[in-house]
Chain length 286, copies 2
Amino acid sequence: MKRIAILGPGLLGGSIAVKLRQLGGCRVSVWARRAEAVEEVIAAECADTATSDLAEAVGEAGLVVLCVPVGAMGELARAILPSIQPGTIVTDVGSVKGRVLAELGAIFRGRGRFVGSHPMAGSEQTGLKAARADLFDRATCIVTPDENTDAAALGEVTAFWQQLGCRVVALRAAEHDVCVALVSHLPHLVAATLINTVAAKNSHAFEVVGPGFRDSSRVASGPPAMWTEILTENSRAVDEAINALIAKLTDFRQMIAGSNDGRELREFLAAAKATRDRIFPKINNG
Amino acid sequence: MKRIAILGPGLLGGSIAVKLRQLGGCRVSVWARRAEAVEEVIAAECADTATSDLAEAVGEAGLVVLCVPVGAMGELARAILPSIQPGTIVTDVGSVKGRVLAELGAIFRGRGRFVGSHPMAGSEQTGLKAARADLFDRATCIVTPDENTDAAALGEVTAFWQQLGCRVVALRAAEHDVCVALVSHLPHLVAATLINTVAAKNSHAFEVVGPGFRDSSRVASGPPAMWTEILTENSRAVDEAINALIAKLTDFRQMIAGSNDGRELREFLAAAKATRDRIFPKINNG
């Protein structure tokens, strides 16, 4: 029976465990740093074993999934290195790939077979208590192979995410970071900035918010420490994305001040609507 | 029995009709400009009478609700003036209040009793086909009385929106326009700008969008012509809002470039999260 180790039972790690338990056919060990977190995993009955002993968690695993924040990946990778089998496949769930991938790739060059992953699932909720089996249903998971990636390991990791319900896309790490800066990191920081702008300009306005503002700002309820790490880690691509947004907002100011009967403005809004309706067909809008 | 006339059976007008029909206790007439729209109302069975004859629709009404786009309000108001009773209460659903309110207020100064309203309900869907009885459930409706507003009429209009399920807030027209520029118009144009920025920078990024981008951009699927009118009509307050957002985004660029171990960035994100979690307690985040 396949043995899978999940390191870090947060929202992502916990949801993987819950889903694997539902699917059956594999043996799941979960590692958590804190004893209370181990107890929570045991109470949630989502793993065959739960331990704070790294060597015990990964020793017999064919696949190890690192589910800790980006900033903790390197240390954890180095810590498990002596305990994994030479052919063990290791993957992660980090939201930024460039630097982390280079670091993890180097660590597992001589032992283990590393493949970077980024399942684009999550919510503004956090922790094992928010874990759910359907978190990955139809979510996109980006895998980021490079010239050192073992082809068989890439295949196994791809199949793993597909089994959890993901659509898998392969991108180079650098391309990954540019794409997520645009569609994930930029919306996050814009949501936070939107809220702080309203708070600074006229906090009475919050008394009349509707569902539009609620949805537009939802992601800003995500964990600040985690997002600080992500935005800092991907600062170059994020800065370029903000810059591009500011340029378009500046164009927008010209358009609403313009005297061409709103034509430019209408075309701008129509282009955005057409793009969005193509990306998210009506059925997924609910 | 109370007689209510709804002029314009779009998403808002249609939803009012559907809800009134569900509540019972009043007689509803609906006016639509086009014969096909009248047929749709009849087919939807959400009114006692449906007609394209304005005088017929409003002649016996105690309350008339103008549910047409902001740009069409003035013309419609002038058109019904000869047909309403002297004491008929007239309200509207316009998203911008300043100029329109002054215009409508003047039109109804001698005949009818006008009270401005803005039910903050809606969706990116449009038209009678999207109408639903629960559209106003727990939505905020802003009423905008001024020194000429008849107190009894204000009370009736307030009770009307409450009966439909709204929480009613009274604001001066100018304050209304500043508030909605911040919590409704700014999120809308930001969503559109976000989409157009990604499209311009790297449209491959759309292949890896997740639920965060979907929700952040949802409002951008709204009708471009309607939003062009709203943004143009409220251009002064909107321009100030954009300007404030750009200033905060510029601060943000400094923060991610900063070398203070992410403290400022974390505080910025934590402030946004705290504000949002206060406005939208977890139970409404679904």
